[in-house]
């Protein structure tokens, strides 16, 4: 098992009545009313410090991602963060997991090929190249990309990036969405032929198929745990893998889980309850319809989603739930090290997850509590999970220089 620490870089101090008084947390929240630029600078620095702290505590990877115009998580360019992280973790065997720069919203997409190659260079070959499709809010609304073209644009951008990384020759790119006369990017990635590619997603069948057919790692970014929507996702995903002739290597699957560790279950409630509620009530204060902007899903995915409204119900019922509900439904795993350990082991076994991502800063959590969570997680929880899958499978989706067998070989 490889465990990475994810961070969203949210606004940590939204007013208590935010979700009642304000428009959605995404796209339209008024910055000048809700935030202070200097204070936001502090959030960014806390975020960087927390991720570096996690790397030092033993996190196998650290993750940042891209979102726009919101208070839920606002790193418009994750590579700006990744660059600092790559430099600050120079002496650690920690992957820089960019989850990442959104392909359909970056023009021209060779920009991502270049920035990722820079990160791979600075980090000495520690980059994991996440290739997100992007949410409708980010890509369609904030960046104006036509929804029905988003997936096709993503696919063309992906092909262009791969060719830009690997081609020995200068080439012309005559695509539908991008035309470039002479592509020859500098620098090129250290990892050969290119860094491992992860595709984050939220359960759409088209993305399963794309990921499996390309032999990449699919990362299910669920805020709803694994109990509700995740089991059908698991069954469908592994089914699609097999249809594509792939093995059942659990490192083909990443999963994001919200985690809070304390000394005891009771202490965990004291520590995390209000931050968990903040995250779900304020951080996901987004109209349901925006997750399904017409055209963002292709016809097949749209039909599946409308006929199986489980995911939609999860989103629309969030504001009625309290900490205990989020805990009971498995959206979050909070408790003593033993509680969290058992639940995570169950999650990874059930879903067949090899690349676990944990969100250890949740919503309004202050810096010190985040450090405590990171400490306890990597001291008391992570060591027990690491041996999972270890003997049977190789993590082919991890930077080769950071795989445990490589590190152990180097040490011996």
């Amino acid at each position: 098992m490889y465990i990475s620490t994810f961070h969203l870089m949210p606004h940590r101090e939204l007013p208590d009545d935010f979700e009642k008084r304000y428009p959605p947390v995404w796209v339209t929240p008024p910055f000048h009313e809700l935030a202070d630029a200097r204070r936001v600078g502090q959030y960014y620095n806390w975020t960087l410090d927390e991720l570096i702290y996690a790397a030092k505590a033993g996190s196998d990877g650290i993750c940042t991602n891209e979102h726009h115009q919101n208070a839920y998580g606002f790193m418009p360019n994750p590579n700006v963060m990744g660059s600092v992280l790559a430099r600050a973790t120079q002496d650690l065997n920690c992957a820089i997991v960019q989850m990442g720069a959104s392909l359909p919203g970056t023009q021209p997409p060779v920009r991502i090929a270049e920035e990722y190659a820079m990160l791979d260079s600075i980090s000495g070959g520690r980059l994991v190249a996440g290739m997100p499709l992007g949410t409708p809010m980010d890509i369609n609304i904030c960046y104006g990309v036509t929804p029905i073209e988003q997936r096709e644009r993503f696919r063309e951008a992906h092909d262009l990036i791969l060719k830009a990384w690997t081609s020995k020759d200068v080439f012309a790119w005559n695509g539908k969405y991008f035309q470039l006369p002479m592509v020859n990017i500098w620098p090129r990635p250290i990892q050969h032929p290119h860094p491992p590619i992860w595709i984050p997603g939220s359960g759409s069948t088209s993305t399963f198929d794309y990921t499996a057919s390309h032999d990449y790692c699919y990362c299910f970014l669920s805020y709803f745990g694994y109990k509700s929507v995740s089991r059908p996702v698991r069954d469908k995903y592994w089914e699609v893998c097999q249809q594509n002739g792939r093995d059942l290597n659990p490192y083909r699957m990443g999963f994001l889980q919200l985690v809070g560790v304390s000394e005891t279950d009771a202490q965990a409630e004291k520590d995390y309850a209000k931050h968990v509620e903040y995250f779900y009530h304020k951080g996901l204060h987004v109209p349901l319809e925006w997750f399904g902007v017409p055209g963002h899903q292709d016809y097949k995915s749209l039909s599946n989603a409308m006929r199986n409204p489980a995911a939609a119900q999860n989103i629309s019922s969030l504001k009625d739930k309290r900490y205990k509900d989020f805990l009971d439904d498995g959206y979050v795993m909070c408790g003593s090290p033993a509680t969290v350990r058992d639940q995570l082991r169950e999650l990874c076994r059930t879903m067949r997850v090899g690349n676990l991502m944990v969100l250890l800063h949740i919503g309004s959590m202050p810096h010190e509590l985040t450090l405590k969570n990171i400490d306890l997680f990597f001291k008391e929880v992570a060591p027990a999970l690491r041996p999972m899958w270890e003997d049977e499978w190789e993590n082919r989706w991890w930077p080769a220089g950071l795989r445990r067998e490589t590190l152990q070989g180097a040490a011996a």
């Binding site: 369609n140 029905i148 109209p287 319809e289 017409p294 055209g295």
Partner: protein, 260 residues
């Protein structure tokens, strides 16, 4: 009761097979539907008494042909696609009535090749933009149940109830996909340069608007008419964006008068 025939036509190197609803008798006219899809209503029924109405489904909206829209990259493709469709239907020069998104397409067809459109009826078309009267993006309206307030004059009345009262998943899938396939050509702002081409329209033109249209405000009626030589404007009182569905007799009479 009008007999409506479904006619599958194959165009665009046989890559697109769209359904065209055909009904009535008499000289032909073409009706281009709005972003919500083709809904055969009493207004179209009334037109069939004097005309043969051809109502094509926008590419991608014909059942089983959902991918068809992927063969048209942009507005230019879509305009040429319609000329081909007219060819297959044997319509050399024909009156075209377009509603909302279909209105924009009707204007584009009349501007690009004035010979193909003999008369033009623009029913609250999109396609022009004023910063002082921004058109809300109908694909982003939340909650979705608010849509009715933008479209219907009396959102509590029986028509609103009939149109939006009991949404079932299949209907919602069709509606969302319809907005996706039409939205392809106008996202994210419905201004794709018609203002540079609209002066080329030569067809006698009538602009119709619901006076209380909350989606595309009635100020746009003059915006269109002022750019088309000889165009007339009729405002329908106590009517919203779907005024022809709200007042079918009145609107059908205006159209028939104009086409006579």
């Amino acid at each position: 009761m009008t007999t409506i025939t479904d006619r599958r036509v194959s165009v665009w190197q046989d890559k697109i097979r769209s359904n065209v609803k055909v009904a009535g008798s008499g000289p032909p006219l073409v009706f281009l539907h709005g972003a919500g899809g083709l809904r055969w209503d009493p207004f179209l029924d009334l037109l069939t008494t004097r005309h043969t109405v051809y109502a094509p489904e926008h590419p991608g909206l014909t059942e089983g042909e959902e991918d068809a829209v992927s063969h048209l990259d942009n507005l230019w493709d879509l305009v040429l696609y319609y000329y081909e469709l007219f060819d297959v239907l044997g319509l050399k020069s024909v009156p075209v009535i377009g509603h909302s998104f279909g209105g924009m397409m009707a204007a584009e067809l009349a501007a690009s090749n004035p010979e193909r459109v003999s008369k033009l009826v623009l029913m609250c078309p999109i396609g022009l933009w004023r910063d002082d009267a921004p058109i809300p993006n109908w694909m982003l309206i939340t909650p979705a149940s608010d849509m009715v307030k933008y479209l219907v004059y009396d959102p509590a009345g029986p028509l609103a109830q009939q149109m939006f009262g009991t949404p079932d998943p299949e209907m919602q899938i069709r509606l969302i996909w319809s907005m996706a396939c039409t939205g392809k050509f106008v996202w994210p702002i419905p201004d794709k340069g018609l203002k540079k081409r609209i002066h080329r329209i030569q067809a006698p033109t009538m602009v119709l608007w619901g006076k209380q249209d909350k989606l595309v405000p009635a100020v746009y009626a003059q915006e269109f008419a002022g750019r088309i030589a000889g165009a007339t404007v009729e405002l329908i009182d106590q009517a919203g964006h779907v005024f022809a569905t709200e007042q079918p007799e009145r609107v059908a009479a205006l159209v028939e008068d104009f086409l006579r």
